[in-house]
Structure formats: C-alpha cells, structure tokens
Amino acid sequence: MAAGSTYTPIATYTLGSNTTVTFSSIPQTYTDLVLVTETTGTTNGALDVRFNGDSGTNYSRTGLYGDGTTAESFRNTGLAYGLISAGAGATRSIAISHFMNYSNSTTYKTYLTRGGDASSGPGLSIYLWRNTAAITSIALTGDPIGSNIGSTSTLTLYGIAAA
C-alpha cells in the first residue's frame, strides 16, 4: 500500500450535539472519495445524502440486507436522496461509503455503501445519482430528511488519488 498521500482526510466531524453535517468545497484533486461514519441517534437508522444540494428525484439504488434472520434484495428508483446505514436511537452503527469518479463532469455518479450494526444487521447498496456535475458538496441528515444525527457521531471524508 502506498503511503497516506492517497488516503487523505478532507474533513472530519465529531458531533457535540444533535445536528446535520455538510462536507462542502470538496477539492477536485482526488479520484474517489471515502466517507467513514459511526453514527447514533437517528430516527430511522439511516443518513440521507444529497449531492450539491440536489433535492430532485434523481437517486436510485439496488441493495442487499440481512437482519439476522432473513436476507433480502431491494431496489428503488426516483428517490430524492441517497441513504447510508446509521444508528437508530442509542445504537451505534458504522458505514463505509465509496464515491467513484466524483470529480468527473461527464458521467452520472455512483457510490457503494456498506454498513450496519450488530443489532440491525449488515447491508450493502449501490446508488446512482443521475447528474453529471462534479460532486462539490455532500449533505448528510438523519432519516427522515432534515432530522438530526446524534451527538458523539463521527464522520470523516477521505480523498483517494489514483496517482
């Protein structure tokens, strides 16, 4: 593995109170982004994700999920935001999300997110954002959209360079 020059922290938050988070002014100098989250205090066990403030129904997903008893696959189109696994109530949940070719300005953007916790189980989803703009901001709220993420949650955005 090359040295850390290809895994560079862009910004990190440790929440001191219930709030929402926006990574803005994301530099366009990397190839991919990785968002690592350990979260708690959401209402529905998910973070809602919007790129560049886009609230249109431009997000879709296909996923796998296991709750400890049943495995299932799901698919949704026409969503107004993407989702990332998060802790509901007092549960702490982790997620690692990869945003590929985020600075490309000619293709739709995809991200792969995997996460979960020992209470609700693991999941893996791929999302498409039907927009060709380079991603310059990532806004995260609790689900339902606009609700808070709990205090003590940690969120770090890393930049991954191909060279």
Binding site: G4, P9, V36, G66, G116, L124
Partner: protein, 170 residues
C-alpha cells in the same frame, strides 16, 4: 503530507499456527483495517476476532449476510465472535480466502467498539461463499490487541497472511 494510511504490522505464516495476534497497537490512529488472506487446516467455517484478549462468552455479537452462489441468507451470533469465513482444508488446493476487517474509533475509551467485516472464499469450484458481518464488542477500552482465531480444531495454514493498517482522520 501526513501518512494517514500506515502499515502497523504484518505477518505471513511459515507453518501451521493457532492464532494470529497483533499486540501493542498504538493508539495514534482513528480507525484500523486488517486485510487477511487465509486458509484453515480443517473444515470449520468461521474465524473469531477478539480484542484485548477478551475471549469471554457474551462479549461479542454480530449479524451476517451470506451468499453461497445459489442462495442468500442471514444469521447472527450473540455468544461467540464468529465474524468471518476462511477457505478450509476441503476447498480447492492452494486457494485462500480474503477478508477485510474495519474497526472504527478503536482508541476511544467510552464507546463499545463496532466493526465491519467482508470475506470471500472463492475456489473455482462448487463451494464458495461471501459473508458480510456487522460486529460489536461490548468493551469500551481502547483496543491494543487483536487476535484472529479459527474455530477449533482448525488452525491457520502456512502462507496465511495478515496486514494491520492504521488510518488517521487528521
């Protein structure tokens, strides 16, 4: 530029071995990642992940999502730390499974520790699995030791390798 993804320790086994242990892990990183290439000398499915030598029953829990190539299933554990699969002795010769273990906020001293684990056991044969796990250790101490242990009576075989990386958020 700061080195934010740093190799802390690694091992490649020169013979059969019961456990792989990383000890004296510095608390100067934010997260830890382990990359494991592994095979058992017996036919057990799982390996366990223990922190700080805590092997007590009930200290770990997990839920998992499995795919066998023909079906998907989900299960969970509450008394053992069965977090990952490995290739095993009745799989295609010379094939090794892969695992990635990601442990967040390992140096924190107030929260119970969470981890995600992805494993695959591709063999170019009928037996192959992928497994995703979400695991928790109820301990709140900073993690200074990690032990990877096959379910008995399996041991790790020669050429099994493990790499421990530290990731910094600043």
């Amino acid at each position: 530029m700061a080195n934010t993804f740093e190799l802390i320790a690694s091992t490649e086994l020169t013979g059969t071995q019961a456990n792989i242990t990383f000890s004296s892990i510095p608390n100067t990183f934010t997260d830890l990642k382990i990359l494991l290439s592994s095979r058992f000398n017996n036919t057990n499915n799982y390996f366990e992940v223990f922190f700080n030598n805590d092997t007590s029953s009930g200290q770990y829990s997990s839920k998992e999502l499995d795919g066998s190539g023909t079906a998907a299933s989900s299960g969970g554990w509450s008394t053992v730390a069965y977090w990952g699969f490995s290739n095993k002795s009745n799989y295609t010769a010379n094939t090794f499974g892969n695992a990635e273990i990601y442990i967040l906020n390992y140096a924190n001293t107030t929260i119970q520790k969470s981890a995600s684990l992805d494993t695959v056991t591709e063999t170019n044969a009928t037996a192959a699995n992928m497994l995703m796990s979400a695991g928790k250790w109820v301990g709140t101490a900073a993690i200074h030791t990690i032990m990877l242990r096959p379910d008995a009576p399996s041991n790790w075989v020669q050429y099994t390798s493990a790499y421990l990386y530290g990731i910094k958020n600043s």
